[in-house]
Subunit: 345 residues, 4 copies
């Protein structure tokens, strides 16, 4: 069993990493840390885990972590992550970082959207952990920057079109909707049940921090800069992201041809599923799993293609994608421990 | 007290008409019909109304209705509506029709999206019941076609831009999300709690019947044909529509100027509220009321404006807009009986 | 117009008082206070109220409040309430206090369940504001202690049986379920959407603070001490309390006789509605209204009666009951401003 | 791989059986039937299963089923089940029946609550499939009657007290709350999203069909007849049952002693977890798993014990308990294929 640690495991991505790794046949969790819950058993913080683990939260102590684990998941807020990742690497650990700190290639862009970057030297080394695009680089990586939830849903939806130059880059409009677990587990009025339930709103219009991450990845595929309209919305569900993407086709393409094109592109991908023409994904089709489902429509009236993708934001959008990256980095079967079927209803 | 009837009052728009009209100070409900519930007290079908009315559902009988009422709300499915509306008018009643049957000016368009039209002669007379656009025509109308829920949210969001020729007509993309009451009260697997709850999906992509209604109204404002991309989605909430509208600006305009422009356009409208720059509407801000709230953003990076509007689909999107139309048709104060503030939380 | 103030108006009961009083035909809100939101327009804190009021939150200043209003609603946490209520009374205001501070007759009991009581001298004067039991005393009161949400639902359910000595007092078991707005608007992890949604739990088992309030009121009706089992649960809905009450009948009584007995008891009550035998209330039947609905069953197999009551916890359980009390205290029509029908669906 | 079939697999328990068995390491699904979906791939009916199985629904044909499988799950409505179970047994299959048809020992009781019983001869052979009570009998059974969802939650909560004669049998009151998937997947107005969401109600008060099943099992433990008050309620969540059980203690017992007593009773049970004193289960702690969590309180004031249990009604209340029974019947490890941890949030 390979020894792994989770740093910052008291949020929603943390409990999902715990759930997945406790059932993973090839790894063993040897250390979990939490500033606020140090000294508390994980099953007291997360009673869903009762009876399955005696792990107790440790304080965040790099020496302790690196003594116990060979691969570390850092599930910390941005800024906090880059304060520990360099030390973890220096001590010889591999790292899957779930924060935003190593996702953007360009420190200036990072600093424009976040705050000063204190670990710039690792930016060129970090691999963007989207296996459907960067599988081979991930295999050899010491540091993987696990993608954001929205970017995962958007890039999987649009990559085939952009790789093959099928749409006008200036025409990209992305209307995304995320479940509330994406807002994390901190106590804020805006995340209270009574504020979210029976509600729906746009937020971060024109300035959401996932915009540069989306643009960077699409630009790399396009070979030229890309600017998108990206509008996130808050859904009154626990889990799930659905992104509705609009793009102007450079050449006409039928819906059937579009479906065939996506099926071919993702033929070898174990976690991408393409719906037949006329059928559309629901976030319930992927809940609790590592899948991304995609539906497609080509609108002859307007010359636009509409691509709808769904993922579980805590899984393919965070924790299970992190495990997929870990599997690749450790030379394990990529799908190992990720066989859960979606929970419906 | 003016006597009014509701034909087809056993659905969600029906119960909302009952709620509003039972509290309306100038009208009296003298007849409610329901094929399936004939003979049953309305408070048995809708226990929320217990103790406030002795009304009993009648079968649908035009003579009975026209003998008892001077204005009739027809809350029937399309096709069923046009089977009774001509007779109601012939007997001297005014009619607010909540179905789709009289919304489209052009019978051929109607027949393309619905089925054969059997009441074509009334199409030119029917007034599209959006008071913010057609107030004076509604005042004189015998027959008002109450707008669809999606079109109400979309047209109020885009009308100012199109009236003043501020956006490229070919650039309009509308991403709408509706609460589940929009699907009506009929028993279908797809509307079951366990299918909708914790879910989210697009539906009717590229072929939703509200598309021609939106395009017709926008085209009338533009003075030329308009084709839009319109994608509806199903929200796991009871009530509320939020439409996120994207349009390419023909000339640059700051967000502040945009807000000022909308405020001026809607300055005299009692039911349209414009958010300040940087604030966005939530469907909870209008739930249970006749309001439409609008938020605005002008994105210099992409040259697009983003307009987000919210309404309660059962109220401004159906029943309270119908009452607003009734008030105008009867020469009452337009806001009469529509003073309910939104119910939050 | 009679001038009223709301002290502590930035929570959920506060916004409901604002909604009700802004539409009340006989009173005018002249002052609203909030420590945290002082200086902010109420419509910025509650966008649902946009366009209907220019009121701005004031800091909590007793001189200001008493200069502007003749009746004051104190919507403060317990302890904070009794710090201002004596001064408000001293300045000649009438007070409807929505906190727990004046509900319990006995200071020792209060101090057992809460903390030291600093306004003991007013306890004997305060009238428990349940109009169905204490209407005449409320009419003459300077200080009304507005009942708790659970106690309102429970006492209306059980009062008829206990007044008439029809059940064994030692047999009372109350299983209550409340919507999440009952937990207030403060930011706590336990009230986050993702913690509450799709969840259900018991809490405060055996030690909830509404227990002594329930027992005090039932004991007053019984003329002897009463001890109940009271178990509250947290429902994943915004609004609504449903209490399922079990009691052993001292003499057999059919369900039909039970229904008739309740109908007679509440015949003159405008806000209590009794379901026919075999029909049961749903919290949706009262949402947004001042109603209490009650369903009844007498189980010959076990000799027990089962009484199920529902209220909107923010309305009959708090704000609209406070307005009902205000109407009585000011000599207005008891139902004035309380005519809203429940919002369904 | 042992070959198994699922008869009637198009409902919610069906899709859960499919999900569990597709991932079960020791069995293979060789046949799934559905009257309404015959000829359709299971992944078209349940897109959550896309890409994981090529199974197609067959019509219900006993010869086909028995030719393909050695153990059959019958997930049919009551009455329909007993029309096929005898033939399946006769052909040599083992059967786990998820309907109510073989749960009651006494045909007369069955006929009182359901309809005439046409398979009476099998009643004495059928084993009630609650492993925590009847493990050894299940191991040798040809026919297991999988328990109802409510009875599972109630019997696990009360069995320790009744086995050891610790409570008055006449004092049992059970207040249960179930998620909406318990109502099945058929299209009925009462199960529509807008009817259930934001609602809560009691139903089947005094006459729910799980009452005799609960009473039969408790009576078997007590060695004498038992009559309980059982009140089910409908929760606006997809999954989960919480039962709050009240019982008068025959001898005083502290909460701590009670917890210790339950821990001892269930020490060897892999799927029952007892909360420490002062902590209470939430349905979210078991969602997606085969666990039953139990919280306890002994109330010295009233002499009553309060036991709160939670299960996932589709899993420990139906499909995963059926797999647990299958494992026992086939001589497999009891926990095989049931290792899923609960999905939180």
């Amino acid at each position: 069993m390979i020894k792994v640690a989770i740093v910052g495991a008291s949020g929603y991505t943390g409990v999902e990493l715990l759930r997945l790794l406790l059932n993973h046949p090839q790894v063993e969790i040897t250390c979990v840390t939490s500033r606020q819950n140090a000294g508390t058993p994980i099953s007291s913080v997360f009673p869903s885990l009762m009876g399955r683990s005696d792990l107790v939260f440790d304080p965040v102590d790099v020496d302790l972590i690196t003594a116990r684990a060979e691969l570390v998941f850092t599930a910390l807020p941005h800024k906090a992550a880059m304060e520990v990742v360099p030390d973890l690497l220096r001590a010889g650990c591999k790292v899957v970082d779930l924060s935003a700190d190593y996702r953007l290639r360009d420190a200036a862009t990072y600093e424009l959207w976040y705050q000063p970057h204190t670990s710039v030297e690792l930016l060129s080394e970090a691999v963007y952990g989207l296996p459907e695009l960067y599988r081979s680089q991930i295999r050899g990586a010491r540091l993987v920057a696990n993608p954001g939830c929205y970017p995962t849903s958007v890039v999987l939806a649009l990559a085939p079109l952009i790789e093959q130059n099928k749409v006008f880059l200036s025409s990209l409009i992305i209307d995304s909707k995320s479940g509330t677990s994406g807002a994390g587990r901190s106590a804020r009025v805006g995340s209270l049940f009574c504020e979210v339930n029976e509600g729906f709103k746009a937020y971060g219009v024109g300035n959401h921090r996932h915009t540069p991450e989306i643009e960077q990845t699409l630009a790399a595929l396009a070979g030229e800069p890309v600017a998108v309209s990206f509008t996130p919305h808050l859904l009154p569900v626990n889990r799930g992201i659905l992104s509705t993407c609009y793009a102007g086709l450079s050449d006409p393409l039928s819906t059937e041809a579009l479906v065939a094109f996506y099926r071919e592109r993702y033929a070898d991908e174990p976690f991408v599923r393409i719906h037949p023409a006329g059928e559309w994904p629901n976030v319930t089709y992927v809940r609790g799993s590592n899948y991304c489902n995609i539906g497609l429509f080509s609108d002859a009236r307007t010359g636009r293609v509409i691509v709808v993708s769904v993922i579980d934001n805590l899984l393919k959008g965070a924790s299970s994608q992190a495990v997929q990256n870990m599997n690749l980095m450790l030379g394990l079967e990529e799908t190992c421990g990720l066989g859960d079927l979606p929970l419906f209803p």
